[in-house]
């Protein structure tokens, strides 16, 4: 029995997101857990980059999975991962439009991220300091570039998937990412020269 279970689990890990989504919609709680474990960090990081509010970002992750469950099973989801992120994006943008939260509740991404990663210790090493500087610089990028970087780096999407989430072409997504890296390099250069 144990062997069978292990084989089943191993097979589950190989399943595509689209297949897992299909199973989720038919009420498979195992698929729900697998999808959650696969995507919760990426979704949270993406929501956090848009909302800058850890509580609201958790709400978006929560609501995203509920929406996935509520998607009509007769309409098959072929896009898989990008579909999941597109749902989260719509929810986050709805929230942003809703309560004028763009300005009122925005935290720097670095601070918001650290609220969940680890508190900044005074004796933090070079790497932590560099990470913080980099995240602060990332938070100063234009929104479309921030989104592209977050989806690429923290959520692990390909340019084709990012393009589907943001409704742009894959070339645009790739060039946004490139511009963002160049801008980040410039920002860090300026910081060091000061």
């Amino acid at each position: 029995v144990i062997e069978f279970k292990l084989v089943d689990e191993a097979r589950d890990l190989d399943r595509s997101d689209a297949e897992l989504l299909g199973r989720l919609q038919t009420g498979d709680s195992g698929a729900a857990a697998l999808l959650y474990d696969r995507h919760h960090r990426g979704l949270y990081a993406y929501a956090l980059s848009l909302l800058r509010d850890p509580g609201l970002s958790e709400d978006v992750v929560h609501e995203t999975f509920l929406r996935l469950l509520a998607t009509r099973p007769e309409r098959p989801v072929v896009l898989g991962k990008s579909f999941v992120y597109a749902v989260a994006r719509n929810l986050a943008l709805d929230l942003l439009r809703g309560a004028g939260r763009q300005d009122a509740h925005r935290l720097p991404l670095a601070r918001a991220a650290q609220m969940r990663v680890a508190p900044a210790a005074p004796e933090a090493g070079d790497e932590e300091r560099r990470n913080e500087t980099l995240l602060s610089a990332l938070a100063r990028l234009p929104q479309e570039q921030q989104e592209t970087v977050t989806l690429k780096v923290f959520s692990g999407l390909t340019f084709a998937q990012i393009a589907e989430v943001l409704s742009v072409s894959a070339g645009t997504a790739a060039s946004r990412y490139r511009y963002a890296l160049e801008k980040l390099a410039d920002m860090l250069q300026e910081g060091e020269s000061r």
């Binding site: 009420g27 919760h40 990426g42 949270y44 709400d59 990663v117 890296l181």
Partner: protein, 500 residues
């Protein structure tokens, strides 16, 4: 640093993680929604694993049982679903009150149902902290929810009536604007007039969207406040309260007013800040250790709250300014009820004129008080002979209260004669009553002392009929439509209407 180096650095940064509790929250909610509606209320009861042969055996057993029932049971006349004239026994089971006809029945085979609450839906509470929302007219389960700890709810669920009313009016306005835009487009095409209408419609949509933020249902269990989306039952947020609430909160779109059991104050929680305790409105008088039944009551723009020392406080809802206070005795404090009464009255010259009075009724000790709610002026009070059970029920221009001794009193809300006499105008009394169930077409239906329902003539208090109801329990009081809800011993919830 080159862009490629930045790329490498970015990939080395660990992504931010949500709180570990989020996993349980998400997967728990998903599991709850995946299960069939009727199984959710059972809470921790495991769902049986069904196999193909098990399903076949179950189907055969059900079929056999149904066949036996069909042969054994007498055929009730009119039992076909033809909508014809109801005959004796139609739509009723043995033990159901004879004046009723069954509208629907919801088999929740869990005997642990602890309370039914009638709001926009029928809310069914389980003893394990489960809450199910059923449609009042059909009994269909809209959603179910269970508090994390599996502890029972401290008080009935609360919704914001103000938001519901606003949503309804906005949806009507939206539909009317949609029709008008279509007509204008058809007649005049795209132009300034259509654009103005579309702009107005966008404004209404925005108001409706904002309104939905406050369209919540609140429950409290063991000092934790849960905020659910009223329509879907999805958990929006939870808040651990820093105080012990003495009763259910009063809800408006943006805030919650929660009474503090330890002091004469009402805490104001901000709904948009996930229930953060933003301020407390301090009432006059000290906590005298007297239990306060019920919570505060909101009627725009005021909050009414009876402190444990028997003082009725009226705060301005927006900033907590104490507008007026009314002192009474610190004994058996009842829940206040605010009601706007519109009635025709004769003035000094004998001419009829429309009168609109906002009344607040509350009781302490044996006395029922009626005050003008805006100024706190005492209109009348009545010695009911014993402390009151529950809050007054209003039908038309009359108030009905039941005392701890089981006496039902019918009082005129706004006595026409001698308003300065400060005495309530008693219409009639009836002994042996324990709960008002509903106001039907033939009169009031009251739960009597011997597991029977009394039909009472509303104008005189005369008993028109007695109907045994030994097999039913947990009736909620229905203040609006003439439907009667109850729980059978098996845990089935049943809804009756009054027979013609």
């Amino acid at each position: 640093m080159t862009p490629d180096e930045i790329d490498a650095l970015l990939h080395r940064i660990p992504p931010p993680s949500p709180s570990p509790q989020l996993r349980d929250r998400v997967l728990g909610e998903l599991a709850r929604r995946m299960n069939p509606e009727l199984h959710r209320i059972r809470g921790s009861r495991p769902v049986l694993r069904r196999t193909r042969w098990g399903a076949v055996a179950l189907a055969m057993a059900i079929g056999g049982f149904a066949a036996i029932l069909w042969l054994v049971l007498p055929k009730a006349p009119g039992s076909s679903p033809d909508g014809g004239t109801p005959a004796e026994g139609r739509g009723r089971s043995d033990g159901d009150p004879a004046f009723t006809r069954k509208v629907w029945e919801c088999p929740l085979p869990d005997p642990g149902i602890s309370r039914l609450t009638l709001l926009d839906r029928l809310y069914v509470e389980g003893s394990d902290g489960a809450l199910a929302a059923l449609d009042r007219k059909t009994g269909q389960a809209a959603w179910t929810f269970r508090v994390d700890a599996g502890t029972p709810l401290d008080a009935p669920p609360v919704i914001c009536d103000e938001v519901l009313a606003e949503e309804e009016s906005l949806e009507v306005e939206l539909a009317a604007l949609g029709r008008k835009i279509d007509e204008t487009l058809g007649a005049k095409g795209v132009g300034p007039e259509t654009q103005a209408l579309q702009k107005r419609r966008n404004g209404v949509r925005e108001r409706l969207r904002v309104c939905k933020f406050g369209d919540n249902l609140y429950v409290v269990s063991r000092q934790v406040l849960y905020c659910l989306d009223r329509a879907s039952g999805a958990l929006k947020w939870t808040q651990r309260l820093s105080f012990v609430p003495s009763g259910p909160p009063a809800a408006i779109r943006t805030h919650l007013f929660v009474p503090d059991a330890a002091a004469a104050r009402v805490h104001v929680l901000d709904v948009e800040k996930k229930g953060a305790d933003v301020v407390a409105y301090q009432g006059s008088g000290a906590a005298a250790g007297t239990p306060v039944l019920g919570g505060p009551t909101y009627a725009d723009p005021s909050i009414y709250f009876v402190a444990p020392d028997g003082t009725l406080n009226c705060f301005r809802g927006s900033d907590g300014t104490l507008t007026w206070r009314f002192d009474s005795e610190p004994r058996n404090i009842g829940e206040p009820l605010v009601h706007t009464l519109r009635a025709l009255r004769r003035d000094a010259g004998g001419a009829l004129s429309k009168v609109t009075v906002r009344l607040i009724l509350f009781s302490t000790g044996h006395t029922l008080y009626a005050l003008e709610a805006n100024a706190g002026m005492l209109l009348w009070k009545h010695d009911c002979g014993a402390p009151l059970r529950g809050r007054p029920i209003l039908y038309g221009e009359n108030a009905y209260v039941i005392t701890e001794k089981g006496v039902l009193l019918s009082l005129v809300l706004l006595p026409e004669q001698n308003p300065g006499a400060l005495s309530g105008s008693l219409r009639w009394t009836l002994d042996g009553c324990s709960q008002i169930l509903m106001n039907g077409r033939k009169g009031l239906y009251i739960l009597g002392p011997k597991r029977e329902i009394l039909a009472v003539k509303e104008s005189s208090g005369e008993i028109l009929g007695r109907y045994p109801c030994a097999s039913l329990s947990r009736f909620p009081t229905n203040r609006s439509d003439g439907l009667l809800y109850a729980v059978r011993p098996s845990g089935t919830i049943v809804c009756f209407e009054e027979r013609d």
